[in-house]
Each structure stands twice: as structure tokens, then as C-alpha cells.
Amino acid sequence: MSELASPQGRSEPAGLERGYRRLLACYPRAYRRQNGEEILAVLLACARNGQQRPGLAESADLIKGAMRLRLWPAPRPPRTVQAAAWLMCAGVTAQLAYLIINVATAGSVGSAYARQYPLWAAAAVHHAVTISVVRHEVGGVIGIGVCLLLAWALVRGRNLARFAFAAVIGLDWWAMYQAAGQGATQHAQADMTAAAVTWLLILPAMVLLFFPASSRYYRPKPRVDNPVAPGLQH
């Protein structure tokens, strides 16, 4: 946008409009249906004379706006829910770090197996390590996916996600309790440490989600002032 003169009476290049429509496709469909044509009109009004395609700054700005709406929709969640979502993301990061460490240290796990079970053949040790690593990786990736999905639903005000999150935490706690009962605190210290770190992040997130401010956010309320305009519905 290099000038703010009146845009009336100007004919816009078709390529520019096509470019803007492509960028607007990044926005959520419902938002696009409601505001797409309006934003397009403003984008074209703000374009420089003779501009053929969207500029870098406005493209980045539109993509940023679209991502923000997808990740952080309006109405904005209260701070308790925002903090819970950030804690869940931190938990996912910790879990991701653990999965990387798990693969990187597979060799030392093999040595530990060999020391613990000296009668095992090398192939048996290798097999046991492979199963252990794959089991942890698959379980970890599923856990990360579930956590991200729940975080996504929670910032969108889905009340059911709160209880699903509590159920997942309960299951995780039960699995950890079982593992500790089988001596995991002795022979799987890295696993238990990773689980403890993740818990330190995830548990406060769950508490925050049941604060009164969060509960108010999860109460169903109709959105007022929601005009529907014909527009970009592709």
C-alpha cells in the first residue's frame, strides 16, 4: 500500500485479484464466507496503481491473519485457557525431545539389556531394543497427536475436550502407575523422568481448564452480530 487515495474508478488486474483470492483461501471457510469479499475489496482498494500480484508484506500479513484465526479464533479464550494451551504445547515439546533422545540412545539401551540379561543372544537383545523403541515412538507420536488435537479443540471452546483431556490424563497416570509397579523407576529411569516432566506441564494445564474463568468460556453462548455475506465459498 503506497497511497491511500480514493480507489474508485480504477480497474484491477485479474491476476492481482486471483492472487488475493488464493491467499484468502488460507482463512477458515466460515470466516471467508462471511468476510472474504469484503477483505478482497479492501485489498484491491489498497493496491498500488498497476500492481500485478500481491506484495510480500501483504501476503505475509494475510497468511499470519489466517493462521491466527485458525489457531486462536475469536472470541479469544480467557487467560487460563490460553495458559493451559501453552502448557500443553510445552508438554508436546518435552515429549518430542524425549522421542528424539529415545532413538538416539537406542544403543545404550541395548547395552543395558545385555548387562541385565547376559544369557540373551545379540539378536534377541536387538529384537528387544527394536520393539521397545518402536513401541515408545508409536505411543509417543499418538500421544502428541491426541494432545495437539485436544489443545486445538480446547481453544475453540469445545467443552467435551476438557473431559476427554481429563480422561487421557487419567489413563496416562494409570499406565505410569503400572510401569512404576513393574520396577520402571529402576530400569527405565529416562522414561519415568520424561513422563514426570510431561506431567509437570500437563497437570497444571488440566487444573487451569477447570478454573471458573475457563468454565465460563465453555458455557454455550450464541454469537451476536454475525452477518452472512455472499462470497468466497470455494
Binding site: M1, I39, L62, K64, A74, R76, D225, G231
Partner: protein, 112 residues
């Protein structure tokens, strides 16, 4: 701590709407004028802010028009938006007065 301080872009958008309803392009032009061309909102930023302000009940859609076969939607301040803008303006004014009183006591008649 009271209400959180408003972001400058939000403050300028509400200020632009304080004079009457405006459409998106009008707001961008007005904000540039109010800020002495220092703040030039890009459409993506403007509509993210408008969406949030509507959800917070500070602005509302006033009317829609079709101009040159393009949709033009006008926004206006709600009573809640007017109140929030007045509070923020008073807060900024008090801060500016305090700073100026300390920097130039001769202009404001004493040290705070």
C-alpha cells in the same frame, strides 16, 4: 491491575470509528491520518483486529453496501466500545501528563 492496556492498532481503530461508522478501507486511511502516517494497517491485520473487536462486543456492523459490485461493510462503535476507548484515552492522557509534568514542569505548573 485493572483492564489490560490496549494495543496501539486497536486504539487507533476505535478512535477512527469514534467519529462515525466507517468501512475497512476508510478505517485504514483514517488510522494513517490520525497517526500522522506512522501506522499503516495492512488488511490482514485490520480484519484480525475487527474480528476480535466484534467478538469482544466493542464494535458492530452498522450497514452493508455494494459499491462498484464489491461488498463494503461499515463498522461502528458500540456503547461498550465507546466506554473502553474513553477509559483508554483517559489512561494514556494521565500517563502523558505525568511524563510531561516531569520533563517540562514549567509548562504544567509543578512536579508530580
Amino acid at each position: 491491575m485493572g483492564v489490560r492496556a490496549m494495543q496501539e492498532a486497536t486504539y487507533l481503530i476505535l478512535t477512527a470509528l469514534a467519529a462515525g461508522s466507517q468501512h475497512g478501507y476508510g478505517i485504514i486511511a483514517d488510522v494513517a491520518g490520525i497517526s500522522g502516517d506512522r501506522v499503516r494497517l495492512l488488511p490482514g491485520t485490520l480484519y484480525t483486529a475487527l474480528d476480535r473487536l466484534r467478538a469482544d462486543g466493542l464494535i458492530a456492523v452498522d450497514r452493508e453496501e455494494i459499491v462498484d459490485s464489491r461488498l463494503r461493510r461499515y463498522y461502528r462503535l458500540t456503547p461498550e466500545g465507546e466506554q473502553r476507548l474513553a477509559e483508554e484515552a483517559a489512561r494514556l492522557h494521565a500517563n502523558a501528563t505525568a511524563a510531561l509534568r516531569r520533563l517540562r514542569p514549567e509548562l504544567t505548573g509543578g512536579v508530580a
